[in-house]
């Protein structure tokens, strides 16, 4: 039992906290290990031998590259839509009080607070009713819907931290609304927009549930991995693709987190 008033954590608490960190990371380590496994159909531990052959097999597979292209395209379109809509909504909601303001922040949250199948099946139903065939665009629309909240949250947090005095000072010094926006507000928002954009991109890049229901025959990288999981051959190839996904998202997401560090510190 931890001592609640001491300045140092009890050893039990430290051990438990450390245990949770290990629990969070050892499966990721295993994914990397098995990408080098010489076996093609089993996950025997310890692996009987190691090889880099699967990297060549994966990287010479045209369907993986096609999936990567689709993922990047969809994530880019979704991110642009989310950036525009999310930041406009954030600008409207912060500081202005109006009827339905609370409802907006609730509805923005819904696409990620509700299970992915809800967004997926709902959009699939409306595409079917409207007679819209599945395409890159249906995917982008679906992804943008749950990415809006990421940008919105980042921008709202930045607005809250921004002193209202600076826009007033700008106006007092004779700047027009546009000048204030261009030279005062935008520079202050820049890193929040960048972070929101990166995270929205990463969320879209990784999404699989909504994608399954709005994709038709196209394959994004997660769908490519998912479909391969049911084939008994060349299993390490999926691990290679998995590493590819982790490597592509890890550094940008880390940057996004560092860019918004101050919001978290003042937020607490």
């Amino acid at each position: 039992m931890a001592r609640w008033t001491g300045d140092r954590a009890g050893s039990g608490l430290r051990l438990a906290a450390f245990g949770v960190v290990v629990f969070l990371y050892f499966p990721l380590a295993l994914i990397i290990l098995y990408a080098f496994n010489t076996q093609s159909a089993l996950f025997t531990f310890p692996p009987p031998g190691l090889t880099t052959r699967w990297f060549e097999v994966a990287l010479s597979n045209p369907s993986l590259w096609a999936a990567l292209r689709l993922s990047v395209t969809v994530a880019t379109i979704a991110t642009v839509i989310a950036l525009v809509i999310g930041s406009l909504l954030a600008a409207a909601v912060y500081r202005t009080r109006f009827f339905g303001r609370e409802a907006i922040s609730f509805v923005v949250l819904l696409p990620i607070a509700l299970p992915g199948i809800v967004t997926g099946i709902a959009l699939r139903s409306s595409f079917a009713i409207a007679g819209v065939p599945f395409s890159t665009w249906t995917l982008a629309v679906a992804h943008a819907t749950f990415c809006i909240v990421i940008v919105y949250n980042n921008v709202v947090a930045r607005f809250r931290r921004m002193s209202p005095n600076i826009t007033e000072a700008s106006a007092d010094l004779g700047a027009t609304g546009w000048q204030t926006f261009r030279h005062v507000v935008l520079p202050n928002l820049a890193t929040a927009l960048l972070a929101g954009g990166i995270l929205a991109f990463a969320l879209s890049f990784d999404e699989v549930v909504v994608t399954t229901f709005t994709a038709g025959n196209q394959q994004t990288v997660p769908i490519w991995i998912f479909e391969r999981l049911f084939r008994p051959r060349q299993r390490p190839v999926t691990n290679v693709a998995a590493i590819l996904v982790i490597v592509l998202t890890f550094v940008p997401v880390l940057i996004a987190q560092l860019l918004t560090r101050e919001e978290r510190q003042t937020g607490s």
Binding site: L13, F23, I104, S105, I117, I121, S125, G174, Q179
Partner: protein, 310 residues
């Protein structure tokens, strides 16, 4: 003012207009978002509701676009009812387990970690969330499979009997580890744990140290302080975290699918109805159940102030 009055370009005139008519500016800011969320998203939710009132013709497999209550009625069939209950119980169990596991690390971060350490731990917690959900689900299949690392480790420790005992336990057991509810439970807890740690940590940061000291000064034992002071103040964080752990478990079909779970879960049923059977109306009806459960939970939790820690 003179300066701006002298050279008024179109941009200045527009911003002047918005300044004089704040409502027009607000409308313009809100319009794209309202159209997107109001028409595309909420419109889609209504489409889903409508789809549930349609049905799949038994022989042709085509969708009959005639109003019927039959599809929603099918949810009450024992097999379908079991799917809903099974999923609900799993989501609840996973949420509770995440709360228990999240607490030590969240408490350590909020209370003892230096500012630098806190930043590091925050990144440590959040990075798995952003490293492919599918990859992490896949990792657990590789851990829990018969020839995998879990059995290897247990053999070294001489604990194979524990697994056998779990597998033989009715309900949570099964023919093999990977196909048991127990395996799903562990993997779900792993996948959603960071979603619980972050809001609990945020809530715990707001617990003033003086409260704990006062409690201790008044002679409360640690367990009493935990139950009566820390836990109630952590509640908004626990609720915020459970929104995600519950919601994500409720709709997941990936994990049960790749574990080869034969007792279907709600998301899996929806996936099969759409992908294999082509019965989108029944899939929509099932999805509506998940949606109603979550909207109810969201509305209740909003009153507890849980949204501030999201």
């Amino acid at each position: 003012m003179q300066m701006t009055a002298r050279r008024r370009g179109p941009a200045a005139r527009i911003s002047g207009f918005f300044h004089r008519h704040p409502w027009s500016k607000l409308t313009l800011l809100l319009l794209p978002g309202l159209l997107w969320l109001g028409v595309i998203y909420l419109g889609s939710l209504v489409s889903m509701l409508i789809y549930g009132f349609w049905s799949q013709e038994e022989f042709t497999g085509l969708i009959a676009r005639d109003f019927t209550l039959g599809t929603y009625g099918k949810l009450l069939e024992p097999a379908h009812r079991d799917i809903i209950i099974r999923t609900f119980v799993m989501a609840a169990a996973v949420s509770v387990a995440c709360a228990v596991l999240a607490f030590p690390l969240a408490y350590y971060m909020a209370r003892y970690a230096t500012s630098r350490m806190k930043t590091v731990l925050y990144l440590v917690v959040i990075m798995p969330l952003w490293s492919s959900y599918l990859v992490r689900a896949l990792a657990w299949r590789q851990i829990l499979t018969n020839e995998g690392i879990m059995n290897w480790g247990l053999e070294r420790l001489g604990l194979e009997g524990v697994v056998r005992a779990i597998l033989q336990t009715p309900i949570i057991g099964g023919p093999s580890v990977i196909q048991s509810y127990f395996a799903l439970f562990i993997a779900f807890v792993y996948l959603w744990l960071p979603f619980m740690i972050l809001p609990v940590e945020a809530a715990l940061e707001r617990v003033p140290r003086s409260y704990l000291e006062a409690s201790s000064d008044l002679g409360a034992r640690p367990w009493f302080t935990f139950r009566r002071i820390v836990l109630p103040l952590a509640k908004p964080g626990l609720i915020a975290g459970s929104i995600f752990t519950f919601s994500l478990t409720l709709g997941d079909f990936i994990l049960p699918s790749i574990f080869g779970q034969s007792q279907l879960f709600l998301g899996q049923e929806v996936f099969q109805q759409v992908g294999v059977i082509g019965n989108t109306p029944l899939a929509a009806a099932f999805t509506l159940v998940a949606m109603i459960i979550m909207v109810g939970y969201l509305l209740v939790s909003r009153r507890t102030g849980a949204f501030e820690t999201l």
